[in-house]
Symmetry: C2
Subunit: 139 residues, 2 copies
Amino acid sequence: MYSITRTFKNKGLKLTPQRIAVYEYLLGTKQHPSAETIYSALIEKFPTMSLATVYKSLKTLCKVELVQELNLGEGNFRYDAFMEEHAHFQCNHCSTVFDMMNVPTDRVMEAVSGNESFLIESSRLYFYGTCLECQKKNA
Amino acid sequence: MYSITRTFKNKGLKLTPQRIAVYEYLLGTKQHPSAETIYSALIEKFPTMSLATVYKSLKTLCKVELVQELNLGEGNFRYDAFMEEHAHFQCNHCSTVFDMMNVPTDRVMEAVSGNESFLIESSRLYFYGTCLECQKKNA
DNA sequence: TTAATTGCAAAAGCTTTGCATGAAT
DNA sequence: ATTCATGCAAAGCTTTTGCAATTAA
């Protein structure tokens, strides 16, 4: 709430119910939803909202760095409002995407920076495998 | 040559000129090309080849693990025939994708595995920033 | 009031699919 | 002789765009 209000005011962007709804939906979930999923969830409360508006809102939220876009190779994007540098894990069985809190992303980036001629500014670290739930199921 | 012949025979897949051409093109480049780029390059030597065949060949090559699919968040896939675990770097200015040979991917994965309940099987590590060329240009 | 955003429909990419022809085994 | 792959065109998805109507500032 606070951050989106301040951020949008600073940048001269208008705070619309649709933009707030998209942002709050993302703040309230750990699912890393796609645009379509967000749209389906919000259409109940905002029956007139269009999918194009969801896309435009997400684009705006990404530009002001309140949201990040993930691409796990599924053929669409997922979105995440948790903006601390962190890696992601996707289960190959149930496709769920989890935040990985224990990957020292900044240390990985430092280590990498020391060895390469590239000036590294950001990263996307994806890991794939079997989540705990699916390990139990197939054990 | 050797590996694609053996691999395809083992799996009962047919070795066609198109499939060989796609694979050899990927072996001979460090550009991490898209399907479209591969198609444009091969159409000279194979005037009858279709884009759909490029896609089908890539899908097959990925399935037999001779090629890997990358997604850097551009809205399309890129392909890489270099199959040792390695990270990638994309320049935010010129969009070039580089292999990163100095990222200890397996050590990163080990470190991560020790901290999480996930069973990690593979990874895609992407870094973004400014490549050496573009650092020089803007210096 | 004015400048930006929404919502709709249409368009634009990228990738996949179905099916008849053609090629590899 | 079979079975699988190719090539074409069409379809499918996700995402973007144009523009009139609407809303936030």
